[in-house]
Symmetry: C2
Subunit: 299 residues, 2 copies
Amino acid sequence: MKNQLKLGFVGLGIMGAPMAGHLVKAGHEVFVYTRSKLAPEIAQSTAVQCASATEVAQKADIIFVMVPDTPDVERVLFDANGIALGLSKGKVVVDMSSISPIATKEFAKKINTLGCDYLDAPVSGGEVGAKNATLSIMVGGDEKVFDRVKPVLDLMGKNINLVGANGDGQTAKVANQIIVALNIEAVAEALLFASKAGADPAKVRQALMGGFAGSKILEVHGERMVKRTFDPGFRIELHQKDLNLALNSARALGISLPNTGMAQELFNSCAAHGGRAWDHSAMVRALELMANFEIGQKA
Amino acid sequence: MKNQLKLGFVGLGIMGAPMAGHLVKAGHEVFVYTRSKLAPEIAQSTAVQCASATEVAQKADIIFVMVPDTPDVERVLFDANGIALGLSKGKVVVDMSSISPIATKEFAKKINTLGCDYLDAPVSGGEVGAKNATLSIMVGGDEKVFDRVKPVLDLMGKNINLVGANGDGQTAKVANQIIVALNIEAVAEALLFASKAGADPAKVRQALMGGFAGSKILEVHGERMVKRTFDPGFRIELHQKDLNLALNSARALGISLPNTGMAQELFNSCAAHGGRAWDHSAMVRALELMANFEIGQKA
């Protein structure tokens, strides 16, 4: 096969398994390692199962990482049996997890000292995006490295942007999650207000769509609030993790994010009512609890 | 002239003057009253200047009102020399001011007892929209009355929606202003975070545009924050008035709007720094002051 690459994939969870699957299907030689049981789509494929992340790094030239959080990436990279121990000069590590931009800059420097390149390439688009290879990918790193890896990223996503240097991909992802949470909160306050004032929230949403209040969130999540369909979608507990990252990073950077703080508290209130697995549009429920009134109820 | 109507217009300020001008240009017989000096475009037109709002209501069949705030509408409608005193059965009052939805329902009832109809029809789109007849108009009232007045509204706006009964037009406008303020705040937090974390805020904004963080505000106001162009646009003091309406109405309705409250405090902080006439996208400056850091500054 022309241009067959030796690719590694560490972390084959809900996101990682379908993403690695696309690399296998494209005909590349794929070396994998995951702590959990292998998904059938990978186990029954030509992917080569390795005994450790170190072994993946020894056998592959570009190694992708997709694990839950900052400490997981640190472990997978630098622990005994980690990726760093298997690297040799000229290889590339691509972290597609959503983690701290600040820690990412340190990880990248450490990998660079081994003569290897690093990209942070967090994604948005969730499980559906991973399965359909329609993820948005926000990349931080050198342009030459980006150009080298881009054809492989194209197998997993659609809207792929080099945002800047290492860490900037993660920064863009955090910024994305801040806006998504706060636009959900905005639509929730507006539709709750409209409904309690006696208007039809569906008609208000419709009247607002084409103007300055228009957003992807008013379109998609606003409809979920009106129709009371709170199956995920994107789970509240995942957005809590992302806002935690935003708020911790903001504190470390010395800036104040007051409405992100409030949005996190509203998610926390949802969680307190059993809503960790509700779709994030259900943030409106926390405001409804505060108001003792639900959208659609008789005012 | 075919279908020439007898129209009234009370309140010929920055918004009202160009709006009334469109009615005159369309060939209707327009009776006007305003407290301030007549704009040249009206003074030099065929519009008939009346001595009071009462006289406007006596001579016109459909009377439009465009004044700043709830007490102004109340005065223009119900004071001595007010519109109510000049009305006779079958006439219509159309209030295009942005005022309290709760007070609006009372005003409508009082006008109805005189055998007349009432529409609340607040607009969005500002001075530019008024001049170019491209205003969005959110209407509350009976469908038959809406159908009767719609051809005249078409002379002033483009995106014209009947949202529901009296008050619902004002409710939609408040909901609109809540979302616009909170989406500005969201973009401000995200871009400030990105910039302080060392990323290029322009590139982050670009990377986020097509995804779930996408909004009209990220597009228009996000660019103003990055380019530091804070000439209005829409003045902070006007948005303060709108959020005051939202927060007072929310309190009266018994619901809690935590992020709207915070957005108002940030506008207040801008005003404290001389920013009452800045564009509302300059809300980001209040966050920048809190962070002792400006977007675009070296992190």
